[in-house]
Each structure stands twice: as C-alpha cells, then as structure tokens.
C-alpha cells in the first residue's frame, strides 16, 4: 500500500481533482494498481472526461466487474477497468452502489462495449443501469428469479 500523500501526487488523481474537486472521493493503490472511487452521480461525467482528455485518453474499457459486499452498506461496488491505448496506462474506476436501490448510470455513450457488461451485471447482481437501451438478462434465462452472484444467493441455488 502506498501512503495517501504520494497518491495525491499521482498524475491521474491530480488531473481529475484539478478538473473537478468532487470527482475523486477516494484513491488507493494495491500491488501497483490505482483505484479511483468517484461519486455515483459523477460517473458519466468523469467517464467522459477520462476518455476525452488529451493527457488521459482512456479509450478502451476492458471490463466492468461488480462485487457484492453484503451485508455492508453501500452494498455493491462496480469496477471499470480502463486502458489507454495511446498512453499505455491503466486505471480502475469504482463507484459504490446502495443495496436498497441498486442503480447507476450507464456508460454506453462513452464506451459502447459497456452494453453487454452492464447487462451481465444486471443479470447476476441485479444492479440497474439507468439509460441502458436494452437492459435484460443476458446469461440466465429470462424467467430466472434472483441474482446468482449476490452473496445471499447460495452456490447450490435455491433448489428446483
């Protein structure tokens, strides 16, 4: 773990802070990987900035992964693994999503690849992506009940 002071020196964190003081809720580093937590309401704006800003250019969204921190609140974290092809740098963007009303805005306008990733998270975690044009189950059958990757969903299922 790196200490807080050196993280504040990080170029990506500094740029985001200079752009909007409220954009970075928290920054941390583990095994050389930088994670920036942005407030849920700021996600789409921050995503647009990260992709378009010349010094950042995170043009490639590798993956979106949700994690269920049940019974913690906020319950879910949604991680966006970003890559900048021109600058060869990586970043993990994270938003926290409440368990009571699990919803976050879509990033499809910024990275169209998010479409299926968001559908998968909706399917397996039950997190809604507001503004998604085609939000329905992708891996599980349409009439499936429950969200299998949640921690309160048993590995063996609820029985048939």
């Amino acid at each position: 773990m790196t200490d807080k002071a050196s993280l504040e020196q990080n170029a990506i964190v500094q740029r985001l802070r200079a752009w909007d003081e409220k954009a970075v809720a928290e920054a941390s580093e583990f095994r050389g990987e930088l994670t920036i937590v942005v407030p849920r309401e700021q996600l789409q704006r921050a995503a647009e900035y990260l992709r378009a800003e010349p010094g950042l250019q995170f043009d490639f969204l590798s993956d979106i992964s949700a994690v269920d921190r049940f019974p913690m609140e906020p319950r879910f974290e949604v991680n966006y693994h970003l890559l900048s092809l021109p600058l060869r740098q990586i970043l993990r963007l994270r938003v926290w999503v409440s368990g009571k009303d699990p919803a976050v805005s879509t990033v499809i306008p910024v990275w169209p690849t998010a479409n299926w990733h968001e559908r998968e998270i909706f399917d397996l975690f039950g997190i809604r992506f507001e503004g998604h044009p085609d939000l329905h189950r992708i891996l599980m059958p349409d009439d499936w009940e429950g969200y299998p990757l949640r921690k309160d969903y048993p590995v063996e299922g609820f029985g048939t």
Binding site: F30, R31, E33, T35, D59, F60, L61, S62, D63, S65, V67, D68, N79, H81, L85, R88, I90, R92, W111, P112, T113, N115, W116, R137, I138, L139, M140, P141, P148, L149, V155
Partner: protein
C-alpha cells in the same frame, strides 16, 4: 402469352433464428436474424446457453482448487487461462516465480496459441467450404496435444500452471519433442497457406467481408487478432509484459484492411511469431532449477521431504485442507490469450477462498461486434463473420 403478376415483397423482412444448435456457431450461439431476402438487416446474438456459473463456483473453492475451473473457461486455450489466473493470485500474494518456470510457462502458452489458431483455421476454412484444411490443422494440433499430455498428463484440461510455478517437473525428453515440432511446423504453415492464401474461392469469401474499423473495434472493446487486423497494435505481451515476455523478441503483426482476410493473415503471421518465441524459450530454459517458488504455507512442500519430515507432512495436510489466505485487496491481471485480452479480477477478503473472481473473456467483448461485422452483408457471409472473430462459447458464457 400470359403475364404472371407476382406480388412485390418490398419492405418485408423475415426473422430467422440461427442456432443455438448450429455447427458453424462453434458452440451454442443463437443469432436472431432479420433478413431482407439474402441481406442481413439485423443480427442479434443471444448468449448464455453454456453458462455454468464458473465465477460463482470459484467463490466456494480455495485459490488452488479454482485453477481446474479456469481450464474449462476457454477449452481451446486452457493454459492461457491457467496462466492468467495464477499470475493474478501471485500478484495478490506478491510472489515471484522462478525464471525457469516463467520460461516454461511462456513456451507452453505459445504452444497453446498455435493450438488455438490451428483449430480456428481448420474450422473457419471448413465453414467456408475448404474442408481439407481442417484435416491438416488437426494433424499438427494432435502433436501439440501430445506435448501437453507429456508434461501435464492431460491433453486439454491441463491445470499445469499452479500458484507459484508449475505442477510437476516436465519429463525428460519433452524439449526434444518440442524441438521436433517447431522444426516441422514452418513447412506446415506453408502448406496451409498454399491451400488458402491465393485460393480464389477463399479470397472471394473473405476479402472485404466483415469490415470492422479501428474506431469501432476500440469502442466495442474488441481485442486480439481482430483488433490488430484493424491496424491497432495492442498486444498485452508488449504493452504490459508478464512472465518475462519483455526478454523475448517478436513482432506484433498488424494489417489495415479490417476484413476477414486481414484477420486470417494476422493469425497466420502470429503462428510464425509464436514459433520465434518458442525457439527463444527453448534456448533460455535452464536444464535444472526450481519450478516453484519457495513460500512455506503457500507452496506445498516437496514430496521427498514429506516422506521424512513430520513438519512437511503437516504443512501439506494443512495446505490442502485449509488452503492459504492472501492479504485483503484486489488485482486485475491481463494477459494476451489467442483471442485477445483475458483479464482476471480477483478480490480477496483475507480468507482462503477468493471473495470474487471475475473473468474478462475476450470472446465476450468480441462477439458484441458481430452485428457491426455482418449487418448489411449476405446471410452466407454471416458464417464467415462468426468464424473470423474466433469465439469460444465456453468463454463467452462462463
């Protein structure tokens, strides 16, 4: 003479369901097509038929046990997935793997790339009517599978890479066998090229088919040969080297035509580059040395020690019943699989079982580009489009 009046079918489209049981979908993929005559107006891939809940199952296994599931994600490149998973857990633990094991890993994953590209080439050519290519490709693939069997005891579900190194010391004579294979293989690539590269039917079926430009490919998160055929030289082995890839010299083949033929040329060129890497790895692998790192409590003790030392026996027992617990944290490890960027996102909560394992499967992202590739083209070319992005449904659905 009488004139027969036929009703013009203007503006009428037909919805056709292709798959999920269809040989050219390379698994169980369903594509809902909207057709205007022979032209594809809309193609909507429907997935999930092979969903087995691997990510959920991993949460109920120890870190070592979960390796066996990673084989089954992409059954054409099990060793690539073993590697991605092991590297992620090693990163989580902060483990350094001995150089000898790293080189052997590189050699075997490049053989895996050949294996996967061979199956792709054979089946893709067969989809387009060139049935004989498949027989040639599977002949060489058999040799690769025999090498896998020799080192790991398994042809496909190898689970040969373990956390901290390899499962076993490779048997004597295995490198000679690899050597014989790479001596023979360049002439075999020429055979495939003789059958296809200038074949006029092959050219008609692939040139200008399934155009995917760089801008769209990046936006859709497409990686691997499909992205490189659009002129973007993104290869994880070069961008973020792992397992000592920075010590190897090889090129990243790219093309700019963005079509199905370009993707074919990129993959054939990649096979030649893999051979280069394998040849270098053979020179680098020291004849003797550790194949596992030394980390008590994480790496099982040597078998010999267990027969004489009580402590080693206890360690062994504890490790295989309780497992080991990495520090809390999360890592995302990307590697270059034959199909593109494989990413393993592993979250640890400090317990001996992973809290969350997420697999970023390249086929999943690449398949999203299918509508872009096929819409506006002919229905017969849809088969070429599915083949050319080289999907493995086991990986798409996990």
């Amino acid at each position: 003479m009488t004139t027969v009046e036929t009703a013009a079918g203007a503006a009428q489209t037909m919805v056709l369901n292709m798959g999920p049981q269809h040989p050219s979908t390379h698994g169980v993929l369903r594509v809902v097509l909207e057709l205007d005559g022979e032209t594809v107006v809309k193609a909507r891939p429907e997935i999930g038929y092979l969903h087995t809940g691997i990510e959920k199952s991993c949460e109920d296994l120890t870190y070592s046990q979960a390796i066996t599931l990673t084989d089954r994600i992409d059954y054409l490149a099990p060793l690539s997935n073993n590697l991605g998973y092991c590297l992620a857990v090693e990163k989580l633990l902060g483990l350094e793997v001995p150089k000898r094991a790293q080189y052997i890993r590189v050699l075997l994953t490049e053989l895996t790339r050949l294996n996967s590209h061979l199956v792709w080439l054979g089946t893709h050519a067969m989809d387009l009517g060139a049935t004989s290519v498949m027989l040639y490709c599977f002949r060489e693939r058999e040799e690769i599978l025999k090498i896998f069997e020799m080192v790991s005891g398994q042809r496909m579900m190898t689970s040969y890479f373990r956390i901290g190194g390899l499962a076993l010391e490779p048997p004597p004579g295995w490198l000679e066998r690899v050597g014989r294979f790479i001596e023979m293989f360049p002439s075999r690539i020429e055979e495939y090229e003789k059958l296809l590269t200038r074949n006029s039917i092959w050219l008609m079926r692939t040139v200008g088919i399934g155009i995917l430009e760089a801008k769209d490919a990046i936006a859709l998160g497409v990686s691997g040969p499909t992205l490189r055929a659009a002129g973007v030289a993104y290869d994880v082995r070069k961008f973020f080297p792992y397992s000592s890839y920075e010590e190897f010299s090889f090129d990243v083949p790219t093309r700019t035509e963005c079509d199905s033929y370009a993707r074919y040329l990129v993959r054939v060129a990649e096979m030649r580059e893999s051979l280069k890497i394998i040849r270098q790895a053979m020179g680098k692998i020291p004849p003797e040395g550790p194949i596992r790192t030394d980390a008590p409590g994480i790496i099982p003790p040597q078998r010999e020690k267990m027969k004489t030392e009580m402590e080693a026996l206890i360690y062994h027992f504890k490790l295989f019943t309780d497992g080991f617990a990495p520090p809390p944290g999360e890592v995302y490890q990307r590697i270059e699989s034959p199909r593109g960027e494989v990413g393993y996102f592993i979250v640890s909560d400090g317990s001996p079982k992973p809290y969350r394992v997420k697999v970023r499967a390249p086929s999943f992202a690449n398949l999203q580009a299918l509508p872009k590739l096929s819409e506006g083209g002919l229905v017969a070319d849809l088969i070429a489009c599915i083949g050319t992005i080289d999907i493995v449904l086991g990986e798409v659905d996990r």
